[in-house]
Symmetry: C2
Subunit: 188 residues, 2 copies
Amino acid sequence: MAHIKLQDGLPGIRGPMAFSPQTAKPLNALAEVLLRDDNNTLTRGERELIATYVSSLNDCFFCQNIHGAIAGHYLDYDINKIDAVKKDFNATSISPKLKSLLSIAASVQRGGKNVTPEQIEAAKNEGATDKEIHDTVLIAAAFCMFNRYVDGLATWAPEDRQFYVNRAKQRAEEGYIDFDLYNVSVKS
Amino acid sequence: MAHIKLQDGLPGIRGPMAFSPQTAKPLNALAEVLLRDDNNTLTRGERELIATYVSSLNDCFFCQNIHGAIAGHYLDYDINKIDAVKKDFNATSISPKLKSLLSIAASVQRGGKNVTPEQIEAAKNEGATDKEIHDTVLIAAAFCMFNRYVDGLATWAPEDRQFYVNRAKQRAEEGYIDFDLYNVSVKS
């Protein structure tokens, strides 16, 4: 049971967002520009993968599954490949640049001061731009917020991982802003 | 030196915000509604104190000093009393309700799942509403983002703590939205 009274049937972050629409608005706007804005040399799939990886490090079931499914939708990865990235991204076929950015994201997850000049240098040597490094740090930081928002209020989330896979295409197409916060119930 | 090329002379989060105005907009909007919105039974000073405490737990020099100074401005606390709250809030004269909320904020800082039903019950017994608990969790979560954004990019911040005290009144009056992101340089 959630720590505060939330509308029944809203999965994960949707419960608190319906409880507090005035904070949901900037939160969704942030996710939209960070993860979906087209003026970005990181693909939407790569950005969702960074979000997924940080959410798995924070052990947030809802976030790692919904963003993992969206990343899988964009990248054409099945759930096993997403899980492989979460488990040991260095052992997967993702690009060396993305590996260097996931390493930075992992440091941000532990705390901002853990990011080292050597990690930044390695990312730049793989071709990462200042904007890509900036966005990686902010995506990782933002999911340290979203994950804590979801779990700090003990929100409900469907246990069946296929639920998230089934929703990924629609979420990818609709984005994080243009959907009705009050029309996302899955229980009723 | 910051990990990416930032405009010289912008303290703390202002550097990355000038680098990326499109993400600065929702970040500032979030801070504005969370910390300053008048439709809230937590005072602005109490909310800034939660932000300060979480920033000190995350060891973020810039955030704990600027928000500590703003909290001090609202609450009429000098820097020593703000430091006392950061060091051991239970030993200070803040209200039992605020103590119970700071305890929840500290759990969120470690990770959302650390918040216990007993902490929520204790806060409710001190009169905390669902909205106050929601806002405490989201303020704590948001500063786990802001702190990582500031330190994950190794931003510059003035070392003199009086700098922050001197800016607090103006920041409190202007808020987090209606100021010129490009006109906050202190070096030039």
